[in-house]
Amino acid sequence: MKKRLLFGLLILVLTVVLYSCSHMTMGVGLNFGAGPYGVGVTPSFNVGFSGGYYW
């Protein structure tokens, strides 16, 4: 009986902990995919790009 109670308690604790902590994010962005530039790639930049003079 005691074993069954302890086992039940263990399952309950694990379930609660795993569920709660699986949602910890500490901010936005963790579901975010890869950035626009791959690792080790130096892309070509169009030097005709003028942007603007104003802000």
């Binding site: 910890m24 975010f32 950035g35 930049f45 790009f49 802000w55």
Partner: protein
């Protein structure tokens, strides 16, 4: 009776654990509450990167930013401060994403995150992170605009940072580098209610996104070949050429050295050691 006691005990344990293992928490975006909102403006920036430690070392050395892990974070969230004030964060990219570069994701202040997400979805955006309450921070969501550029929305519980003149090595500006400028402008005006203003100086044109009469960001044709649309964040520097060299010595890749043909040599663009683009801009321009 014994069974009831056991169940009560189990319930208590569950309650204690759930309250101690707090969901979705993050540091506030201001040191102390301002209770003021800069709706439509970029008020926060977070670097999503495969290597937060390397990124933190790089930005600390380049800009003198203070970057510390947040103790309460189990996932290594780092808070960036400049002059004691929080200016951004660093987030670990999931390890399952291989050979990925990092990206700075800017957060726009909005009054109703859920409403803007719905509006964005109905105008062709996809949702990367559904609206959620983040303890200590506010309500947030992350969306990808129809051209593929991700950005975040935030309604901070403690208000937005006060806007001041950017000091050296501080955030200066944000700019959308779009592969479809017309499509981007259509989206941001319809989904977020942004205004658009085009300014011309000789043969140089610049398009601004506005919130009321406030200039909040620029939109330009993506100058980089074969790269999806993305937001680029600008840091104010006094000597772009020297900062580009310094960045390179710290492991950055230089994609634009300051040159007279681009904003009179006042702009340098680098990829940090984890692949995230950052613009180094002398200000004022002339």
């Amino acid at each position: 009776m014994s069974l009831i006691k056991t169940r009560v005990f189990q319930l208590l344990v569950a309650v204690v654990l759930m309250s101690s293992c707090k969901n979705n928490s993050a540091p506030a975006i201001v040191s102390s509450p301002t209770n003021q909102y800069r709706t439509g403006e970029v008020v926060w920036r977070e670097l999503v990167t495969p290597d937060p430690k390397s990124a933190a070392a790089f930005y600390s050395a380049l800009f003198g930013w203070s970057i510390e892990p947040v103790k309460e974070s189990t996932k290594g969230y780092m808070l960036i401060r400049q002059g004691g004030a929080p200016i951004g964060g660093i987030i670990q990219m999931p390890a399952s994403i291989k050979n990925a570069g990092g990206e700075w994701v800017c957060s726009l202040s909005v009054s109703d995150v859920d409403a803007i997400v719905k509006s964005a979805q109905s105008n062709g955006a996809s949702t990367l992170v559904e609206p959620m309450d983040v303890s200590g921070r506010g309500r947030t969501a992350v969306i990808r605009d129809p051209q593929g550029a991700p950005f975040a929305l935030i309604r901070s519980t403690s208000g937005d940072p006060e806007k001041g003149t950017a000091s050296e090595n501080a955030w200066l500006w944000s700019e959308l580098w779009s592969n479809n400028v017309a499509g981007s402008l259509d989206f941001y005006t319809k989904a977020l209610g942004a205004g658009v203003e085009r300014r011309r100086d000789g043969d140089k044109e610049y398009t601004l996104l506005k919130a009321g009469n406030k200039e909040v960001a620029g939109v330009v044709k993506n100058p980089v070949d074969n790269v999806r649309s993305h937001w680029v964040n600008y840091v104010r520097v006094s000597d772009p050429a020297a900062m580009v060299d310094k960045a390179a010595s710290l492991g950055a890749r230089v994609i634009l050295k300051p040159t007279a043909s681009v904003r009179n040599g006042t702009l340098g663009v680098i990829l940090d050691p984890t692949g995230a683009p950052v613009a180094l801009q002398k200000w004022p321009l002339r």
